[in-house]
């Protein structure tokens, strides 16, 4: 038992690695927020474009969505990482991770927002258009406000998945929470920092797991 505590809940190691872990946590939080906003905006934009019912644009978006729903996210991270030299060496890893998360997350958000927009009765479109509102006005003033209510449960659970996906940034050596925890674990040859990282994720994300369950149940 004491060996177990020594290896996984070592107070001395915790005290030593606390600062390293905090740096990682701060990077993870920043990455999660920026990527979430970018992915949601791009996803919404694509979903609205699909509302135009333009065949060419539709086909392009479908290919994009299918491709990135099929490609494992870690592969996408690595492709972005290896492409960096072609965009100049000073391109920061943080933004590389944001690009990978946005491209991947937007594919899922597009599907969710589109389903929400399509769930609104056609009569709403026809009524708004016949009152003289143009496409943009109808979308912003009539359709989207109603679609939001339908979209909230799946969008919340997708946001949770996106936040969980941020740990893949560690694979391209962006110093996020997991990367820093692995660094600390290697430094002192003790898995305690990894346990700390896991606990931090657990404490931060557990409320959102409960929230998604609650929202899904309420909508059902």
């Amino acid at each position: 038992m004491s060996e177990f505590i020594h290896n996984f809940f070592n107070a001395e190691i915790m005290a030593k690695s606390w600062k390293i872990i905090l740096v990682g946590l701060s990077n993870t939080v920043q990455l999660a927020i920026v990527a979430l906003i970018c992915a949601a905006i791009l996803g919404l934009l694509l979903a609205v474009i699909r509302g135009l019912k333009n065949k060419v644009l539709d086909a392009l978006i479908i290919v994009y969505v299918d491709l990135f729903r099929a490609l494992p996210t870690i592969v996408l991270f690595m492709i972005v990482y290896y492409m960096l030299p072609f965009f100049g060496l000073s391109f920061p890893l943080f933004w590389a991770a944001v690009v990978a998360l946005t491209v991947n997350g937007a594919a899922y958000f597009e599907e969710i927002f589109r389903a929400g927009i399509e769930a609104i009765d056609r009569g709403q479109w026809e009524a708004a258009r016949s009152l003289g509102l143009d496409f943009r006005q109808t979308m912003i003033k009539v359709i989207l406000p109603q679609a939001i209510r339908i979209v909230i449960p799946p969008a919340t659970s997708n946001s949770l998945e996106l936040v969980k996906t941020t740990v893949l940034a560690s694979v391209i050596s962006m110093p996020d929470l997991l990367y820093k925890a692995q660094q600390a674990a290697g430094l002192w040859y003790n898995p305690t920092p990894l346990v700390m990282a896991a606990l931090i994720f657990l404490v931060l994300l557990w409320p959102f797991v409960r929230l998604t369950s609650y929202l899904e149940r309420r909508m059902a």
């Binding site: 299918d66 490609l71 492409m83 072609f86 740990v167 346990v195 896991a198 959102f208 149940r217």
Partner: protein
């Protein structure tokens, strides 16, 4: 931006073909891990769902219902933790606990536990969506609780569970490539070896193409299932 260089180091067909046999070997490992994880994870998830529903039955003594708490904690932690974190912690922690299993089986067990947690939630929601009258009718016909579950409730629950289940199965299958992080020789690991040997990114692009070919039909299938079930 150097377009010529970009094409040469990402779409070099000769290098792609050179590494095709190695990539195919890796693909086989990926498919093995995915198959094992899906089969075991779904089975475990189903068992967990039935156990959780059975524990919550009215009329159970209070301590029996309390047995749900550790199960709920397990399910919630798997839903809250990024699978990569679970994988890294398990891989690093097991030797300290005196457990020595191969990287392959470390990966499989993590995916099984993650999938089982999600699947049990999905199955449980399915079971709870079946009307109470079904249970009452079956029981009054003389079927035991387990028989009712097996022959009446679970088959109906399965229909409700199918759309979310397929999309979760796809996401777990995509997560299998995380196993390369702990050194399992899957498709992605073979691609990384290819990059290291040739200083060229083409093997990774070839792997990405293989992944897409493998998963695209599944993604389409899951969308079809979702649309079917909505009607």
């Amino acid at each position: 931006m150097n377009i010529r260089g970009l094409i040469d180091s990402f779409f070099n067909v000769r290098i792609m073909l050179d590494y095709l046999p190695a990539l195919a070997r890796g693909l086989l490992v990926t498919v093995e891990i995915a198959g094992l994880s899906l089969a075991l994870g779904l089975a475990l998830g189903m068992v967990l769902a039935v156990i959780r529903v059975a524990l919550k039955r009215r009329g159970n003594p209070r301590f029996v219902r309390w047995l749900n708490v550790p199960l709920a904690f397990y399910v919630d932690s798997m839903r809250a933790l990024p699978p990569l974190v679970t994988l890294v912690v398990v891989y690093f922690a097991l030797p300290y606990l005196g457990v020595y299993i191969s990287r392959f089986w470390s990966a499989v067990s993590v995916f099984v536990f993650v999938l089982a947690a999600f699947a049990s939630e999905i199955f449980r929601a399915g079971i709870e969506s079946v009307d109470r009258g079904q249970m009452e009718a079956a029981r009054s016909q003389g079927l035991s609780y387990l028989q009712t579950m097996r022959y009446v409730i679970v088959p109906q629950a399965f229909r409700v569970a199918l759309p979310p289940l397929t999309s979760r199965m796809i996401s777990i299958t995509k997560d299998v490539s995380l196993a390369s992080v702990i050194g399992v020789s899957d498709l992605l690991k073979e691609a990384k070896l290819g990059i290291a040997n040739t200083y060229n990114t083409s093997p990774l692009i070839a792997a990405a193409i293989l992944f897409t070919l493998l998963f695209l039909p599944l993604v389409r299938l899951s969308m079809l299932v979702e649309r079917r079930m909505k009607r």
